[in-house]
Amino acid sequence: MTVKECYEEMEGDFEDVASRLRTNERIKKFLVKVLNDKSFDLLCKSVEEENWEEAFRAAHTLKGVCQNLSITKLYKSASLLSDSLREGKRDNQEIIPMLKQVEKDYEHVTNCIKMLEKENG
């Protein structure tokens, strides 16, 4: 799996990230870091504890990371959640579906990255 294929698989924008970060090595280096990023775990934990401030910050950080790496799909869902939390939405009926979407996208993204990591050693 090439970096480009990985991006296609996780619905990211390879052209964009390549133009900004310039080398495949660098892109891959930072993609792998996403696996160790704590913001997703923090997001889930904070929503569970209804610590909305922290949840907003975690969603916001996740969004920023995806933006920098052009992981578009996850960026969009994280963005949606982050904006809702910022606007003060606290209703689980609204938040939980958004969180579920983020979770789904996040899992897909991490799976793709793991695959990339494995195949390329």
Binding site: D16, V34, T61, Q67
Partner: protein, 676 residues
């Protein structure tokens, strides 16, 4: 300008972002040309800036972060003045104009929105660093030029007015004196009121113009100017023309009527002999009709004239001159200005004679000189940094050697920096942000003690900045008495602002424990372990003085025929009897009661009573009646009961003693209450 700071070091960039990935992305893009420092939030960044403000060439700052976000960080930077020395680029996904505007308003130089690419980041970083350095350089160059220009201007004015002075047979000192006193008066006046709307910029202008006040004397004939005796009425009339004449000269300078220096000079020349009551010349202006510049120079002129030697008079002392001015002997002045003069009196008395005479009149160029010094600092910035580095090394070395906890406390934002040795000893990080909420402020110190300490630091004064206080600290689980010595620190400048403190923590636990043991030993009777009489007396006295209402009784106990025990069975046996008696008394009293061996075979018990005293007394009495081995134990007891006592311990003791002798004289083996 080179991006390299010195041969081995690169310029340092501080990246502040809560996401590790984002930090390392930036770091990756910049680390080949710069040294990167990282902080996870504003608090951590503040901790770094506190120590290394001048080393950081640029800061990249995120907005949304835990603990302290980007906007709060900018506010802190403004508060501490760091924003002036450290250029900031904000990096954020927020493109809402309100956010961008707010960032610029708070002093950031550039704003990069996510997602960023390498070229943009590098180029913006480099150009912002360049720009900040250039700006600094330029402002120094401008200050430099202004200084040169100012110097020439002042010199021209001084040459001109000295001309007048020399013709007047005076030294050039008068001009200098007036300039300085004018400035002192103006500053003092500005502190008192803003009703004259004098701006800071106008002060040097008025001071410069003050040198021109007597320029009109050029039109007064030499014979009158330098006449040693009193002037005739006619001569005085001619002399008086100098104020209007000076104004006319200034008014005649073509094309320059609108120049502030000329306008102010005109006011000063024309009206520096007006009086506040309207009886001056040439126009008889009254009160606030006289422009404030002229009022100030008039007062300065009179003070200097009085304290200087003139052809027609000797110099008066400062005190005499002050008295003459305040009594209205030398003209009538604005009462507010007289207040200012009075306030300045100590300075004038101390320093008037030592006012410098060279070409560097100190005060008015002070602010420019300060700029100059800053400029030198810029030129020598590398050397300064090296010195700082040395100082840090020295400090660290000494701190490590001393086996004491050294710390620095910063009030804004609140943080505590520990010496490395201290951090290890306390098992804490070197930098503690928000120490009140961390283990340091609520475990090592109790929360209450820590607030007490911090309140004390803040309340310390510059006269007495050092505080010593003992606290019981929790050092890794064991409670130990420690001495905390601190020195509070304030910023330079007026008014000084409280910034924090430095201090050290010394373990004095063993010392305190030893002292307590010694105190205990000194208070005890070595044979029985009861209190000795001195200690009992002190305790009882303190109770009597504190509790003026309480019900207490004092019981004196004397072992009957104790001498016999010593004589018949030996002193060692006698000691056994005493110990036995002491144990018995201890057994039938409470720990709050005071029991003491008064001396020899006499004991004393001091206790509270409710209504019934007999039971308590008899309990002791019967405990001590019986037999110890071969010796028959019996006691004589004297008791005095009080309800409120306004006399001292001694008189109470005497009453109990009297009652005890009563018991003895009635045949021993009994107890007696004191009766009046």
């Amino acid at each position: 300008m080179s991006l390299r700071e010195n041969n081995n070091g690169k310029k340092k960039i501080l990246i502040v972002d809560d996401s590790e990935i984002n930090r390392s992305l930036l770091s990756d893009m910049l680390s080949d040309e710069f040294d990167i420092l990282e902080a996870e939030n504003g608090m951590e960044a503040a901790a770094i800036l506190h120590v290394r403000e001048h080393e950081i060439a640029l800061m990249l700052l995120d907005i949304v972060m835990p603990v302290m976000d980007g906007f709060e960080m900018l506010a802190v930077m403004k508060e501490n003045g760091w924003i002036k020395s450290t250029p900031v680029i904000m990096i954020s996904a927020e493109t809402v104009p309100a956010y961008v505007d707010r960032a610029y308003d708070l002093g950031v130089l550039d704003y990069i929105s996510r997602p960023f690419d390498e070229r943009t980041v590098r180029r913006r970083v480099v150009s912002t660093i360049m720009l900040a350095a250039k700006q600094k350089e330029l402002s120094y160059m401008v200050a430099d030029q202004i200084y040169e220009k100012e110097k020439d201007n002042r010199m021209m004015i001084e040459i001109l007015s000295n001309l007048v002075e020399f013709r007047n047979g005076e030294s050039g000192l008068h001009v200098l004196h007036i300039r300085i006193l004018t400035e002192l008066l103006l500053k003092s006046l500005m502190e008192k009121t803003d009703k004259y709307k004098i701006s800071k910029k106008e002060i040097p202008l008025i001071c410069n113009a003050s040198a021109l006040h007597d320029i009109g004397k050029i039109a007064v004939p030499m014979e009158i100017l330098n006449k040693p005796g009193r002037l005739t009425k006619e001569e005085f009339e001619i002399m008086k023309t100098h104020s209007a004449e000076g104004a006319r000269i200034l008014g005649c300078i073509p094309m320059r009527e609108k120049e502030p220096l000329i306008q102010t000079g005109y006011q000063i020349c024309r009206w520096h002999h007006e009086r506040y009551d309207g009886k001056g010349y040439p126009d008889g202006l009254k009160g606030e009709e006289i422009p404030i510049a002229a009022q100030v120079v008039a007062l300065a002129d009179v003070y200097d004239a009085l304290t200087s030697k003139r052809v027609y008079k000797e110099a008066y002392s400062h005190e005499k001159a002050m008295q003459m001015i305040l009594d209205g002997e030398s003209g009538i002045f604005n009462p507010l200005l007289l207040e200012c003069l009075k306030d300045l009196s100590p300075i004038l008395k101390e320093e008037w004679d030592s006012v410098p005479t060279g070409d560097n009149p100190r005060k008015e160029i002070m602010s420019i000189v300060e700029h100059m010094m800053e400029k030198e600092e810029l030129g020598a910035s590398e050397r300064t940094l090296q010195l700082l580095e040395h100082e840090r090394m020295k400090y660290q070395f000494l701190a490590d050697l001393s086996s004491e906890v050294l710390f620095e406390y910063r009030a804004m934002p609140e943080m505590l920096l520990l010496s490395e040795w201290g951090a290890e000893y306390l098992n804490m990080p070197v930098t503690i942000l928000n120490p009140r909420e961390e283990a340091f402020g609520n475990q090592v110190f109790s929360r209450k003690d820590f607030s007490h300490l911090l309140d004390g630091l803040k309340a310390a004064t510059m006269e007495n900045p050092v505080i010593e206080e003992n606290y019981l600290l929790n050092i890794n689980g064991s409670l130990r008495w420690s001495k905390v010595i601190t020195r509070s620190i304030w910023s330079e400048g007026e008014p000084p602002k409280y910034e924090g403190a430095i201090g050290k923590i010394v373990d004095i636990h063993d010392h305190i424990v030893k002292v307590n043991e010694l105190e205990l030993m000194a208070a005890q009777d070595s044979l029985t372990g009861l209190l000795n009489h001195a200690a009992a007396k002190e305790k009882i006295s303190s109770i009597l003085s504190k509790d003026k209402e309480g019900k207490y009784m004092l019981i004196m106990v004397d072992l009957d025929h104790f001498k016999e025990a010593n004589d018949r069975f030996g002193h060692l046996f006698g000691d056994e009897v005493l110990r036995y008696a002491a144990d018995k008394i201890r057994a039938c009293t409470r720990s709050t009661d005071i029991i003491s061996r008064v001396g020899g075979d006499e004991f004393l018990v001091f206790m509270e009573y409710q209504e019934e005293v007999k039971a308590q007394v008899e309990r002791i009495f019967y405990q001590l009646s019986g037999r110890y081995k071969e010796f028959v134990l019996s006691v004589s007891m004297g008791i005095v009961c009080i309800k409120g006592w306004d006399k001292d311990y001694k008189s109470l003791f005497q009453l109990a003693d009297k009652a005890m002798y009563n018991a003895k004289s009635k045949g021993r083996g009994r107890y007696c209450f004191y009766e009046k």
